[in-house]
């Protein structure tokens, strides 16, 4: 049972990490507490659902299309909601409230348009059969999540550390004004970061929707609490930190539920969060966080 529980924990943790990747990027680089992030996650899943159900697209085609759609949505919403606040250099709380208001309006609009029902991708989209290795069972959707998380983490690290674009983004994260003086088009870079974050959210929505079979307008909202924990414990803007914090949260929740009591799983997980932040207020790897993006 321990082996299966560890697998369960890693899988759950991978979904947390997958959700948090774009969130930490958006948070760490743009320095905006942008609560619309969960909406891109819902939007990605719903777009893929529509492509698969109404147009009969296979999942491998619907996934990237939904990710791009979410990315575009993120750029547009960021522009609509935050351009003015950035120009007048409004305090962080204003952007928090503006994005909170915006995202609540968006969720309500989406719910009144599509209804609140839980939907799922067509069962034939991916095999529900589990692979069995010894006592451990794992499904294709779960393997896909593990693979996608690994690939996306690798890809993001490569982008940030190995390309000029990544350098520009990191420069911007550290000192936006200086970056601009050095000839970086910060507006463009910010839009690009929004786009990448939106894509990641959308892809996460599709994969997690595929695994849990619970796609609905508020699915992103329900991930936000865990998302916050992961990016704060992992360190804002820290991609590796988000991966490790996500995995740790998943494993701790599952082991608590499996071996202590299922009604304590959140209490234990969040107590550990408090303890981590007491000892390391800027996250697990708590150095100057922005630099690590």
């Amino acid at each position: 049972m321990l082996a299966q529980q560890l697998v369960n924990g890693v899988l759950l943790g991978a979904t947390y990490a997958l959700f948090a990747l774009g969130f930490t990027l958006m948070f760490g680089v743009l320095r905006v507490i942008n609560l619309t992030y969960g909406f891109y996650f819902s939007a990605g899943a719903l777009v893929a659902l529509w492509l698969a159900r109404s147009l009969g697209w296979p999942v491998w085609a619907a996934l990237p299309a939904a990710a791009v759609a979410s990315g575009v949505l993120a750029v547009v919403l960021d522009w609509v909601l935050l351009t003015r606040l950035r120009r007048i250099q409004a305090p962080e709380l204003s952007s928090l409230m503006v994005t909170l208001g915006g995202v609540l309006a968006l969720y309500s609009a989406l719910t009144s348009w599509l209804g609140p029902d839980i939907r799922r991708l067509p069962p034939e989209a991916i095999s529900a059969e589990a692979f069995q290795v010894g006592d451990i069972r794992i499904t294709a959707a779960q393997l896909l999540i593990l693979a996608a998380t690994a690939v996306l983490v690798g890809g993001l690290l490569l982008l940030m550390r190995g390309t000029r674009l990544g350098l520009a983004i990191r420069a911007m994260a550290e000192k936006p004004d200086a970056a601009q003086l050095m000839g970086i088009n910060t507006g463009q870079a910010a839009a690009l970061v929004s786009f990448i974050s939106g894509c990641l959210a959308g892809a996460g929505g599709v994969l997690i929707g595929l695994n849990f079979n619970a796609i609905h307008p508020y699915m992103g909202e329900q991930m936000m609490l865990r998302g916050f924990v992961v990016i704060i414990v992992g360190g804002l803007g820290d991609i590796r930190g988000a991966l490790l914090a996500g995995l740790a949260l998943g494993v701790i929740e599952v082991l608590t539920a499996g071996f202590v009591s299922s009604s304590l799983k959140e209490a234990v997980a969040f107590l550990i969060l408090v303890a981590v932040l007491w000892t390391r207020p800027s996250g697990l790897f708590g150095r100057a966080v922005m630099r690590r993006a």
Binding site: R120, P123, A130, A214, Y218, Q222, V254, T256, S262, S263
Partner: protein, 374 residues
């Protein structure tokens, strides 16, 4: 003290004036249901049931031809919002009675408000224990789970179940009370409870709890939760290798066609007791189902059926009361003798439904509920 009396007098005269003015207008009835948010499916089904019954009632009207005007307020599944909605309906819309709210949680919040203002409030979907203990103005037309679950468990036992694991959502009054009922009924039926596992009603991952239960190999797994988490539990249970040899037994929340839509074949075999069934073969029910489909383009669920009956029960009580007066309507409700889509209906003196005659045990097969084979 004087000040308070004056205030009360002023409030009373304010309250009396519009009521007087409306003596020939429509009779105002309110409903508080979840119309937005993750649980809106229940509220919208209820609203559809209420509106269908309302059309039928208003063909003739009540109190010599007056129409009933229904105002449906959204509670969004939120206790505070349910309280505000009840206050608004009573204070601004001057309703004579309130139908709802959707969840037991919300009734525990909004029920006392209506009770204090002496306005009857009738739950159509609130099945938790203790609802009608709130006060003499709180009614419900939904059979409490404590009446339905023993019927279901008796059927499971007849199929040879001896050990059972229980799973429930621990953050929702409805699911928790269903679990308490299920636990008590299982003990009473002589079943051995091998494990008790909980989860959050909005969780999507249940793998840890299922893995633990799997290791204990119970004959049956009882689940008390709303349909979304139940579907998730079933899907993941099949993925983790719990097969058809384990009988799933659901509480009231599992009793929704959505279970088949979301969980598909994973839900096959699940047993659930229901106060109502869409395929129930009696003329009143079939007429309701046909009309509902024609109006809403989909089959009614239990929540719509319960709401449909409740609106008829309330309209008949208003008629018997002889006036659009909350106090008289409360007394008239207690005299209810009605036969609707749920079967014969009367209230107990404690304002709960009196009969369990209508309970049908259903089984999932191929994504649809049918009457369970013995």
């Amino acid at each position: 003290m004087l000040r308070r009396t004056l205030l009360a007098a002023a409030a009373a005269s304010l309250a009396a004036t519009p009521a007087f003015a409306q003596a020939s207008g429509p009779v105002q009835v309110g409903a508080v249901e979840i119309l937005t948010g993750p649980n809106a499916a229940y509220g919208t089904a209820i609203r559809a049931g209420l509106e269908l019954a309302l059309e039928e009632v208003n063909e003739k009207g009540v109190l010599s031809g007056r129409k009933i005007a229904l105002t449906v307020e959204d509670s969004a599944g939120n206790k505070d919002q349910a309280i505000n909605a009840a206050r608004k309906l009573i204070g601004r819309d001057k309703v004579v009675a309130i139908i709802g709210p959707t969840l037991s949680n919300e009734m525990f919040a909004a029920g006392p408000v209506a009770n204090e203002r002496k306005v009857p409030i009738i739950g159509t979907s609130t099945t938790a224990a203790g609802i009608t203990d709130i006060g003499p103005y709180v009614f419900r037309t939904s059979l409490p789970e404590s009446d339905v679950i023993p019927v279901t468990l008796a059927r499971a036992k007849a199929r040879g179940v001896k050990t059972i694991a229980l799973m429930y959502a621990n953050d929702d009054a409805f699911s928790k009370s269903g679990f308490d009922t299920m636990k008590a009924a299982a003990e009473k039926a002589g079943l051995t409870i091998v494990a008790i596992e909980s989860f959050g009603s909005k969780d999507t991952d249940f793998s840890a709890q299922i893995t633990k239960v799997r290791g204990l190999k119970p004959d049956a797994i009882g689940i008390s939760a709303l349909v979304e988490p139940v579907s998730g539990v079933l899907l993941q249970a099949r993925q983790l290798g719990i097969g058809k040899e384990t009988l799933f037994v659901g509480g009231n929340g599992s009793n929704s066609p959505k279970l088949g839509e979301i969980a598909g074949a994973a839900a096959d075999g699940l047993l659930v007791g229901s106060p109502w069934f869409v395929g129930k073969d009696d003329p009143t029910n079939q007429a309701f189902v046909t009309k509902f489909k024609a109006k809403n383009g989909k089959e009614p669920d239990q929540f719509a059926a319960q709401a449909y009956d409740c609106m008829h029960i309330l309209a008949a009580a208003i008629e018997r009361a002889g006036a659009a007066d909350s106090e008289k309507i409360k007394d008239a409700l207690l005299q209810t003798k009605y036969s609707g889509v749920m079967g014969p209906f009367t209230f107990t003196p404690g304002r709960d439904p009196a009969s369990t005659e209508g309970v049908v045990v259903l089984a999932m097969q191929g994504g649809k509920f049918g009457v369970a084979p013995q």
